[in-house]
Assembly symmetry: C2
C-alpha cells in the first residue's frame, strides 16, 4: 500500500516536472485518462488525463510513422503488435484545442473526435476539462434554441448563413421583444464557431437562468464577405488597411443583416438594445464597425483583439482611425460599454497590440472594462470566459 501511494506521489511529481531537470528524463504519465467529451459516440480515443495530457490512438497497421499534432507540436505515437498506434502530448491548457493526426505525412482528422471549423478547415477538437467548466455546461435550466438562418446577400450576390440564438421563453412569450448581440468568430473560423466550440447558447442559457444576464437574441454570422464585382482577398481582415473582405462584411452587416434580423425576429431595434462583440479578427471587425456606426450600437466587446492588430506601437488617439477615439467625453456619453479581454498566456502580438490599444484609450480618457482569462492562450476557453463576463453587463 505504501508503495502504491509513493508511486502516485512520484508520478504526480514527475508529471508536474518537479523532479525533471534533464531534457531526456521521461516523464511518468498519470494513468487516469478518460475519453474526451468531444468524442464521437462510443469512441474511446482521444483521451485526456488529469494533467491535461491528450492520448491519441489509431489503427494503422502498415504505417511507418504516426503523430499527434496539437498545440503547435507533433508527438510520435508508438505501435503495438496489433498495428495500433498510441501516444500522449505534453499537458495542454484547460479548454478546447484543435488538433490533427499525421499518418506517414498525411494530415488528417482523428476518426475518434467530432469535427469543428477552425484554422480554415473542419478538423478534430479535444476538450481539457476546465476548473470552471460549470458555466458552459449543459444543465437542467430552460434552453434557448440555435437556428440556422439562410439568406441571400445582394452585396455579395451569394447565399449566406447565420446562426441565431433565441433565448428561453422566446417561443412562449409572443409579445416580448429582445435586445440583440452580434457575435463574431475569429480568422479561420466561421459562423458555426460560437455555438459549437464557443457554447454561446449554453453560456447564455445558464446566465439567464441565474438572472445574471437579460434574455437576448445572439446573431452569429460569417465574418467574410466579398463584393460581387471584386476578387476575394485571402489575407483579409488582418490589417488596419482594411481589405475588400473586411469592409464588405461591414456593409453586409449594416445594410443587410441588421435590417433582416430586425424584420425576422422580435427585436428592440435601436442602439440602446444592440451590441456587437467578436474574438480576434472578430474583435478587430467589432471595433471598426461599431465605431463607424455609433448610431446603431452602444455596447462593444473586443475579445483577444483590437483594431490596431498586428501593431504593437504606441497609438495616437488623434490620428488612429481618423481620430474616432479623440473625443473621449462624447464617446463616454454615447457608449454604454467598451469591453476588452485577453488570456494571460496569449502569444505575440496580442498582448502588445491589445496593450497599445488600452494605453490609447487611457491616453484619450475613453472608459473601458478589461478582463484577463487566467492560464489561457488565444483559444476558446478565453472566449467562452469573455462572453460569460461580458454578457451580464449588456442591456442594463
Amino acid at each position: 500500500m505504501m508503495n502504491y501511494i509513493s508511486l502516485i506521489l512520484l508520478s504526480a511529481a514527475l508529471a508536474t516536472g518537479i523532479l525533471c531537470s534533464g531534457q531526456d528524463v521521461k516523464q511518468t504519465v498519470v494513468e487516469d485518462f478518460k475519453p474526451s467529451t468531444l468524442n464521437q459516440p462510443g469512441k474511446q480515443y482521444p483521451q485526456v488525463n488529469s494533467r491535461g495530457r491528450v492520448r491519441a490512438s489509431i489503427s494503422a497497421p502498415q504505417a511507418l510513422r504516426v503523430q499527434l499534432d496539437i498545440g503547435g507540436k507533433k508527438y510520435d505515437l508508438r505501435k503495438d503488435d496489433k498495428g495500433v498506434w498510441t501516444g500522449e502530448s505534453d499537458p495542454q491548457d484547460e479548454g478546447f484545442h484543435y488538433y490533427q493526426l499525421v499518418i506517414d505525412g498525411a494530415q488528417v482528422p482523428d476518426p475518434g473526435s467530432m469535427y469543428f471549423f477552425g484554422a480554415g478547415r473542419w478538423g478534430s477538437g479535444v476538450e481539457i476539462p476546465a476548473s470552471d467548466q460549470d458555466f458552459y455546461s449543459l444543465k437542467n435550466v430552460p434552453h434557448g434554441q440555435v437556428r440556422e438562418h439562410l439568406y441571400f446577400s445582394e452585396i455579395t450576390r451569394s447565399w449566406r448563413r447565420c446562426f441565431v440564438y433565441s433565448p428561453p421563453g422566446y417561443e412562449s412569450n409572443l409579445s416580448a421583444r429582445y435586445p440583440v448581440l452580434y457575435l463574431q468568430h475569429g480568422m479561420g473560423e466561421d459562423e458555426t464557431g460560437w455555438s459549437v466550440q464557443g457554447r454561446a447558447n449554453l453560456i447564455l442559457d445558464n446566465l439567464i437562468a441565474e438572472k445574471k444576464a437579460v434574455p437576448m437574441i445572439i446573431v452569429m454570422d460569417r465574418g467574410y464577405a466579398t463584393r460581387a464585382n471584386q476578387p476575394s482577398s485571402p489575407g483579409a481582415g488582418r490589417t488596419e488597411a482594411g481589405p475588400t473582405v473586411f469592409t464588405a462584411f461591414e456593409e453586409v452587416l449594416i445594410k443587410e443583416i441588421i435590417p433582416m434580423i430586425d424584420a425576422s425576429y422580435r427585436t428592440v431595434a435601436d442602439r440602446s438594445h444592440r451590441a456587437m462583440a467578436g474574438l480576434s479578427m472578430g474583435a478587430n471587425q467589432t471595433i471598426q464597425i461599431t465605431m463607424n456606426n455609433l448610431d446603431l450600437f452602444s455596447y462593444i466587446g473586443g475579445f483577444s483583439g483590437t483594431s490596431n492588430y498586428p501593431g504593437t506601437a504606441e497609438i495616437d488617439p488623434g490620428k488612429f482611425m481618423n481620430g474616432k477615439f479623440s473625443d473621449a467625453k462624447a464617446l463616454n456619453e454615447k457608449i454604454n460599454l467598451f469591453w476588452l479581454s485577453l488570456g494571460t498566456k496569449e502569444p505575440d502580438p496580442f498582448p502588445g497590440s491589445v496593450g497599445a490599444f488600452r494605453r490609447m484609450l487611457e491616453k484619450s480618457g475613453v472608459k473601458y472594462v478589461y478582463y484577463e482569462s487566467p492560464g489561457t492562450a488565444h483559444e476558446w476557453l478565453t472566449w467562452r470566459r469573455s462572453l460569460y463576463q461580458f454578457a451580464p453587463l449588456l442591456f442594463r
Copy 2:
C-alpha cells in the same frame, strides 16, 4: 478537330463500358472533374466527373498505400513525385455517398470533404449531381429555419436533441398553427441526417414556394433511446422482436417528444395534423409506432423499410403485429395515407422485405401508395426523392 471529337466519343464509350469486355481493360476516365459540392471551403478534392466517378487526392509523402473506399469497394490511388496520391472510383449512382480514405491501413475521413454522421460515425461525403437535383437545391425562395432543440428525457435520464424545421412565415404569422411531420433517420445515422444529407428543409422550402406542399413543422429526433434502468442494445432496432432501444424510442416519442413539441411550437395537436415517416430503421419504427398509436397519427410514410425487416417471407395479416393489419376497412377509414417507397437498385433484403410487406397489405386490402426511385440504392437520393413525393400528399 475530328481527332478530338473521336476521342470524346471513344472516352464516352469506354467510360460507359460499351467497349470493355475484358476484366483488365483500363477504362479511359473522362477529364471533366469538378470539386464536389460537399467539399470544405476552398478544397479542390474530392472531385466528380460527368460519369459519376469520384477522384480523391491527398498528400501522404511517406505512405506505402493509399486507397479511396466508396460504395463497398477500395480503389488504389497513385503517388506522384511530390508525394500526392490521386485516383478514381468506378462511376457511382447519382446522389450522396459516404466514403473514407485508407492510409497504410488507417481508415480516416478525407480532409477535403465536409463531414456527415452515417454508418455510426462522422465521416466524409461526396455528392454526384443528380439529374433532378433542382428539387433539393438552395433556391431564391422563402426559407424556413432549422432549430437545434435540447431537452431532458426523464425516460432515458439523459439530454437529447432534435432538429425542428419551422416553415417560411412561421416567425411573421404569429397566430397561425401548423401540422407536424415526425421524420426519422436510419440505422447508423442520427438526428442531423435529414437536415444535412437529406436536405429536408430545402425540399420543403421549395415545395411550399411552389404551393405543392402545405407549410408544416418537421421534427427530426434521434431514433435511439435506452431506458435509464436498462443496458443499451447495440444491434437495436433491427428486428421485429423489438429490443429495448426500439421500444424505448416509442415511449420517448409518445410520452415526451410529442407533448413537448405541441407545447413549444404552434402546432395543430390532433391526429389529422400529425404524420410520421422514416427511412430504413426509421421506416420500421414509423410503422410500429403509428400502428400502435393510430389515435395520434393519420399519415404514415415508410421509405426503404418496413416492419417485417429483415424478413422476406410471406406475411399473414391475421398474425403480423398481433393482427394490426387484419381489419382493412377500419384502417382505410382511419389512415389518411399509408405510403411506401424503395430505390430500384436497393440491395437485399430490402426489395424482398418491402415486397412481402406490400403483398400483405394487398392481401388484407389495406390501401397504400407506392413510389420507386429510379437508379438509386439504399442511399440518400432515394430518401430525398421519397420526401419530395410524400410531403405534397400530407395534410390535404
